[in-house]
């Protein structure tokens, strides 16, 4: 299966700007389906970015983050070609991890 994580990490000067899109339903548990039953909550709880084994950004999410979440941040200290490891875990214990090269 293709990775659920898409990342664009671009080095500009000394700052690396990271844009991330993740495919995930992010069901809040407050929405009903066609039959009127609540769709159970299913959302990413933690999203972690590591550069050279050091966490550079940690997102703790609740149910109010939009479906197919997008997040953008920037950090310093990376070089072109370095790897950025991205992983998430959701409330059902499902996870995904992917590694991206900084461009």
């Amino acid at each position: 299966m293709a990775s659920s994580i898409r990342v664009r990490a671009i080095l500009n000067g000394e700052t690396t700007e990271v844009q991330t899109l993740i495919q995930h339903p992010m069901d809040s548990g407050f929405i009903k389906d066609d039959k009127g039953a609540f769709i159970p909550a299913h959302f990413i709880k933690e999203l972690t970015f590591e550069h050279n084994g050091r966490p550079v950004f940690i997102a703790d999410w609740g149910t109010a983050v939009s479906k197919d979440p997008y997040v953008k941040f920037a950090f310093k200290g990376a070089n072109k070609g370095d790897e950025l490891k991205v992983s998430w875990i959701d409330n059902k214990g499902e996870t995904d991890t992917a590694t991206f090269k900084i461009q």
């Binding site: 407050f30 590591e50 550079v56 950004f57 703790d60 109010a64 939009s66 941040f73 920037a74």
Partner: protein
């Protein structure tokens, strides 16, 4: 368990996140005595804070301390959001030593939307997309040098994003 490099500021959170070593564990015990609420609030994933229905309770669980408004925080959110399911919200700040940024939407069923930990070297600029059930203020709370600052903006929502 994540191990932080040297030079990362030793905060309560670090103490709890990296409570592997004896020295750090010792520190942790000390801070529990002084600040039980804060120590509990800064556990790995702030489970309880994310479940809060009340604005003030969530903030109290997450941070504990007093918060003052700051004009050094720039909160970018649309005045009117046509689709409450996807509201682009971004924040940037000129405050120094930012260690965390939280997004709170008081009118949502669970008020705490997202909580970002900012290690040293990461810029305090974040953009993300949140769901909003209805028209509400959006508050961003920035932890800077151990102090708490906030900025608030109202977003009018025409179609809610939390079902119902």
């Amino acid at each position: 368990m994540t191990v932080f490099e040297e030079g990362f500021p030793v905060t309560r959170r670090l103490v709890l996140r990296g409570a592997g070593s004896v020295a750090l564990a010792g520190l942790g015990v000390a801070s529990f005595d002084v600040l039980p609420a804060l120590a509990a609030a800064n556990d790995k994933y702030p489970e309880d804070a994310f479940k809060q229905k009340d604005n003030k309770e969530a903030i109290k669980l997450l941070y504990g301390g007093p918060i003052e408004p700051s004009d050094k925080i720039k909160l970018d959110a649309p005045e009117i959001a046509e689709n409450g399911a996807v509201v682009p919200i971004s924040v940037s700040t000129s405050l120094a030593d930012v260690t965390s940024i939280a997004f709170v939407v008081p009118e949502n069923p669970n008020v705490l939307a997202a909580y970002y930990k900012i290690p040293q070297g990461t810029l305090p600029n974040i953009a993300n997309r949140l769901k909003m059930a209805k028209t509400s203020t959006v508050t961003v709370i920035v932890e800077s040098g151990g102090k708490l600052f906030s900025a608030t903006k109202e977003v009018k929502v025409t179609v809610g994003g939390c079902g119902g």
